[in-house]
């Protein structure tokens, strides 16, 4: 089944809440080599005015990919996951994600472009904490065509 180009403009229901933990922030910071003590020491983070340890700027991808999974796994979309390549990624932060945040993501399909047999799909995950928009993560996924 080819990719469903009718999906442009579609939004998915809010995701189940994801609770950001200090342990996950530390794991993620270790994994990308982020040495800022504000990822590990709540006292340092509080001194800078944050409520608790803060996540590195790309941590939001963890939640955004859970949002994207709704689109990729949607049987109505016709996405062959083995043909998906990550083309581009953008984050806009209103504040850093912080330990203790309960995050709800809302996925939007912003555009689908067909280029040389490939589909370029732009999805946007708006991440909310207590109804406040904290981060927007925009992903461009390239779905390679059958002959590409």
């Amino acid at each position: 089944m080819p990719l469903n180009v009718q999906a442009v403009g579609l939004s998915y229901p809010p995701t189940a809440p994801y609770v950001v933990s200090a342990a996950k922030i530390r794991e993620f910071a270790d994994a990308v080599g982020a040495t800022d003590p504000a990822h590990r020491d709540a006292a340092v983070a509080r001194e800078r005015g944050y409520g608790d340890v803060i996540a590195p700027p790309t941590f939001a991808v963890l939640i955004a990919q859970q949002c994207d999974a709704q689109f990729v796994a949607d049987p109505d979309m016709g996405v062959d996951f083995s043909r998906v390549v990550h083309g581009q990624q953008t984050f806009q932060h209103h504040r850093p994600l912080t330990a203790g945040d309960t995050v709800i993501g809302v996925l939007h399909v912003d555009s689908i472009k067909l280029v040389a047999g490939n589909a370029m799909v732009t999805t946007r995950s708006d991440l909310f904490v207590d109804d406040e928009l904290v981060t927007t993560a925009t992903s461009m996924l390239v779905v390679r065509g059958e002959d590409a």
Partner: protein
């Protein structure tokens, strides 16, 4: 750690870079931390079956590692207002020895009114670009 001031920054300033070693263990650790378990990032049989030369690093791993160049320079990783990149080339990570990725950054814009500074980050592997037009906007003091 004090946060850098926008007035101390000039367009063209070069940020301290570094070379990182990326091994299969690095990728397994990132997979676990990010919950991205796509097997092309740790299983070479899967990677080669979809036409890749070998296991490749997560694009988001390199994006995350490159961010540290900007955040360490800024003095607070919570100051990233926006961060964008294209993924233009893979980091191929062989079983033996892994790969080396060279990270760097240059200031491309300074807005003294908002105290926001734009940094273009770079990541190269075997002489080829991994990230394309990687721009981080930082809110400085």
């Amino acid at each position: 750690m004090t946060v850098r001031t926008a007035t101390s920054v000039t367009k063209g300033d070069v940020l301290p870079g570094r070379t990182i070693s990326v091994t299969r263990a690095t990728l397994v650790r990132y997979a676990g931390a990010s919950l991205d378990f796509n097997p092309i990032h740790w299983d070479e049989r899967t990677a080669t079956s979809v036409g890749l030369p070998d296991v490749i690093a997560h694009g988001m791993f390199t994006m995350g590692a490159a961010a540290t160049i900007a955040t360490e320079w800024a003095g607070d990783s919570g100051r990233v207002v926006s961060y964008t990149t294209k993924f233009v080339g893979p980091v191929v990570v062989p079983h033996d020895g892994g790969a080396e990725v060279i990270l760097g950054g240059t200031v491309t814009a300074v807005d003294l009114e908002t105290r926001r500074v734009t940094v273009e980050l770079t990541a190269t592997c075997e002489g080829a670009k991994v990230l394309g037009r990687a721009l981080a906007v930082l809110q400085l003091d």
